[in-house]
């Protein structure tokens, strides 16, 4: 990349970070870039809280009879780990941090379509988070993040209503963010920026926003019905009174399955950007990759029944859902093939963002392939409710989404902060995370296949070795996550000042200074070339 020169620290040019000072300028900001940073701080905090619950769980599981807590407490730990991680980290992380920061920049706009709604989204998210923390401190919840009835509606005496209210509220943050992105991408693109010139990150954000807007309201009504049932016991989910617990599951999973695509699609978008930049090549099959994002969004709504194969759901419905679940794997596979083809004969360099992106491709593929076992009705009967499932979704969510998130943070950090971080430490932590992650979760595939149930506070003694391996891996993973925290903070004060385009990447966000001025661009840019014109860059710059 470019040689690092120490620019004089005397007078930094006016940018969005130094445009105004004081807590009011941050908490009442309408600037999408500042709101992105507000989200960055809060999602990091919730990641640590959710991670803390996970640490307690893995310590507890070192012993077959449980090493740390009572079974009732263990139930609360895995519930809160799931609730906090999914609703307060996984779903908002890339859209609300990277999406908020980059969407206007990537399309050449001054801000999103609705800046006030954007700030409101953050406050809504905070209120939901505070409710959740209150519930955690006031006794916790032990229903699992899936809130299955009738346990959650009739029998549990934990803070079900509080968490239900929290999730209900937080959903609106998601809905408003998705709405904002859709309108912005439709109506505010710079002159010359046609749909087929958009960076693929924006295609994936757009597809994600479709899911956020269409799916989250169903979660809201489901939680609303659950809360009513918890309070009034009319019986919609209670067989004794003529209700059906499966109705809750249908409504819940109608959102919660597409929700996992909310979590993975933006990460895939990041990977497309990174692969193109660090292979110095346009993405192979641009249109196919773009449309595959939309296909995942649409097909993702048709498969929710695969979470209910063993619940007593109709076998015929199960057949349909199984078939559709196989179909939804296809667009994801297409992306993997296209990334690989992009890498072929590219000039690859192995900076930290690329290491994370390559890790993503391998780990996401493993997670996705293991999903095929679960989509298949017969094998799912054996694997459902076991650690195989836990390993499957962690490979996708942590090996996939979190790696993609870190990849994006490392890629755009110079743009966001105006500083560079030490690449040696960044590469090292990427490797530590990769090793720690696999050590944590690969044993869980084996555990699940051998029959260890999930959500259990104790297990047969013959599973101890694998559990200890998993817990050891978790501690390595934790170290891996801490290192970037340190050097990102360090870089804000001591990191070399970043130039406008330290990676030599394409994309409008790199055409403005690092960090950008508040209004993003001095003049509205005009776009005349395709999205990943790296070959043209090579010819003109002779780099």
């Amino acid at each position: 990349m470019s040689t690092a020169t120490q620019a004089p620290r005397a007078q930094a040019p006016r940018n969005y970070l130094n445009a105004d000072y004081g807590w009011r300028s941050w908490l009442f900001t309408l600037d999408h870039k500042r709101i992105a940073l507000l989200y960055l701080v809060s999602v990091t905090l919730f990641f640590m809280i959710g991670g803390f619950f996970a640490v307690l769980m893995r310590i507890h599981l070192v012993e077959p009879q449980g090493a740390l807590v009572q079974p009732e407490t263990y139930n609360k730990l895995f519930t809160l780990h799931g609730v906090v991680m999914i609703f307060f980290f996984m779903i908002p992380a890339i859209p609300a941090v990277l999406g908020n920061f980059l969407v206007p920049l990537m399309i050449g706009a001054r801000d999103l379509a609705f800046p006030k709604l954007n700030l409101l989204s953050w406050y809504i998210y905070l209120v939901g988070g505070i409710f959740t923390l209150y519930a955690a401190l006031a006794g916790g919840v032990d229903t699992g993040w899936t809130f299955y009835t009738p346990y959650s509606s009739t029998y549990s005496n934990t803070q079900v209503t509080a968490v239900a209210v929290a999730v209900f509220i937080t959903g609106f943050s998601s809905i408003l963010t998705g709405l904002n992105f859709i309108v912005t991408i439709h109506k505010m693109r710079a002159p010359g920026l046609t749909w087929y010139r958009l960076p693929l990150f924006l295609w994936s954000i757009y597809a994600t926003s479709i899911i956020m807007t269409l799916g989250t309201p169903v979660l809201a009504i489901t939680i609303f019905l659950l809360a009513l049932e918890h309070l009034f016991h009319v019986g919609i989910f209670s067989p004794a009174l003529g209700g059906d617990p499966l109705l809750f599951q249908h409504l819940f999973w109608f959102y919660s399955h597409p929700a996992v695509y909310i979590m993975i699609l933006p990460s895939m978008g990041v990977v497309s950007e990174i692969i193109a930049c660090f292979a110095r090549k346009r993405i192979f099959g641009y249109k196919v990759v773009g449309f595959s994002s939309v296909a995942i969004a649409v097909l993702g709504f048709l498969v929710w029944g695969h979470h209910m194969f063993v619940t007593g759901q109709s076998v015929y419905a199960g057949l349909i859902f199984s078939f559709l679940s196989f179909l939804v794997a296809i667009p994801s596979a297409i992306k993997v093939f296209n990334w690989t083809s992009t890498l072929y004969k590219g000039s690859i360099s192995y900076e930290a963002p690329m290491l994370y992106a390559l890790g993503f491709i391998g780990l996401f593929t493993m997670g996705g392939l293991t999903g095929m076992f679960l989509a298949s009705l017969a094998t799912d009967v054996h694997l459902n409710g076991t650690y195989f499932i836990v390993a499957h979704f962690h490979y996708i969510m942590v090996g996939g989404t979190v790696m993609g998130y870190l990849s994006g943070l490392h890629f755009w950090w110079p743009k966001i902060s105006g500083r560079k971080y030490p690449n040696g430490w960044a590469a090292l932590s990427a490797v530590i995370i990769f090793i720690g992650f696999n050590l944590t979760f690969f044993p869980q595939f084996i555990l699940g296949y051998l029959g260890m149930p999930r959500r259990y506070a104790f297990y047969p003694a013959e599973f101890q070795v694998l559990n200890v391996m998993s817990s050891a891996g978790a501690s390595i993973l934790g170290v891996g996550y801490l290192i970037p925290l340190i050097y990102f903070f360090w870089s804000m004060r001591y990191g070399p000042v970043a130039e406008a385009n330290p990676w030599g990447a394409t994309g409008l966000e790199w055409q403005t200074s690092s960090p950008p001025p508040t209004e993003n661009f001095a003049q509205t840019p005009i776009v005349t070339e395709e999205a990943y014109a790296y070959a043209a860059k090579e010819e003109t710059s002779g780099a």
Binding site: P104, D111, K187, L214, T216, P217, F232, V234, L251
Partner: protein, 231 residues
């Protein structure tokens, strides 16, 4: 660096937000935004409709029995009231388009009054349910003629019907109350002269929301009041 602000000063930018190039783009974005929000509302009510559809199919007799206890005249009258409020809302948007400030305020207030009538009738209907002791969980003790009509379909299943009655009309009423608040805000702004024929997006946006709430009721009326026929 050209001074972008000097150029803009000559054109009328009443109400133009800084992120947009011109009022047309802003109005386009506002309109798209509210329609997207209405789509989220479709999915929100849709989940409730899905649950309703399942239980209606499972326990049709109980749902029909419960439905026949509702006062069809009040339901029909309320439907007419709400449709009228949609008319006055559409006329208020039209008044904003033509720059007629007085008419705009009058029609907004009329819309509020009609909305209030609707809510008043609903309050009366809810109270009737308490009188007849057919409020699920809170006051469920049907007796006499009401009990005779609900018993054949199963009392538990009848309670499910009334759960949906209260949940669906209650959710709808909540949306109406929010709508009334939005209308009140519009009246205040309209009286101050905030809206011109070039800039009246808030009126249009609230109007779309109001019509949507009306459409929900257009479906709630037959789905709750007209189950199974009353012959």
């Amino acid at each position: 660096m050209p001074d972008v602000h000097a150029e803009h000063a000559q054109i009328d930018h009443t109400g133009l937000a800084h992120q947009f190039e011109d009022l047309d783009q802003q109005q386009d974005a506002d309109t798209l935004g509210i329609w997207l929000f209405l789509v989220t509302e479709i999915m929100f009510f849709g989940g409730m409709f899905a649950a309703y559809a399942i239980f209606r199919w499972l326990y049709f007799a109980a749902f029909a029995g419960g439905s026949h206890i509702l006062d069809i005249r009040l339901g029909a009258a309320n439907t007419v009231v709400l449709l009228a409020s949609s008319l006055t809302m559409a006329l208020s948007v039209r008044s904003a388009q033509t720059g007629n400030r007085r008419a705009l305020v009058v029609f907004l207030i009329l819309t509020m009054i009609l909305g209030g009538v609707f809510l008043g009738v609903k309050a009366y209907e809810y109270n009737q349910k308490f009188v007849e002791h057919i409020v699920p969980s809170l006051d469920w003790a049907p007796e006499g003629d009401v009990l005779a009509r609900l018993a054949p379909g199963g009392l538990n299943h009848a309670q499910l019907y009334f759960f949906f009655y209260f949940a669906m009309t209650g959710l709808h009423a909540l949306h109406m109350i929010i709508g009334m608040g939005l209308l009140f805000w519009l009246v205040l702004r309209a009286r101050k002269g905030s809206f011109t024929p070039r800039y009246f997006a808030p009126v249009e946006v609230v109007g779309l929301y109001w019509h949507f709430v009306d459409i929900v009721w257009i479906f709630l009326f037959p789905l709750l009041y007209l189950i199974g026929g009353r012959y």
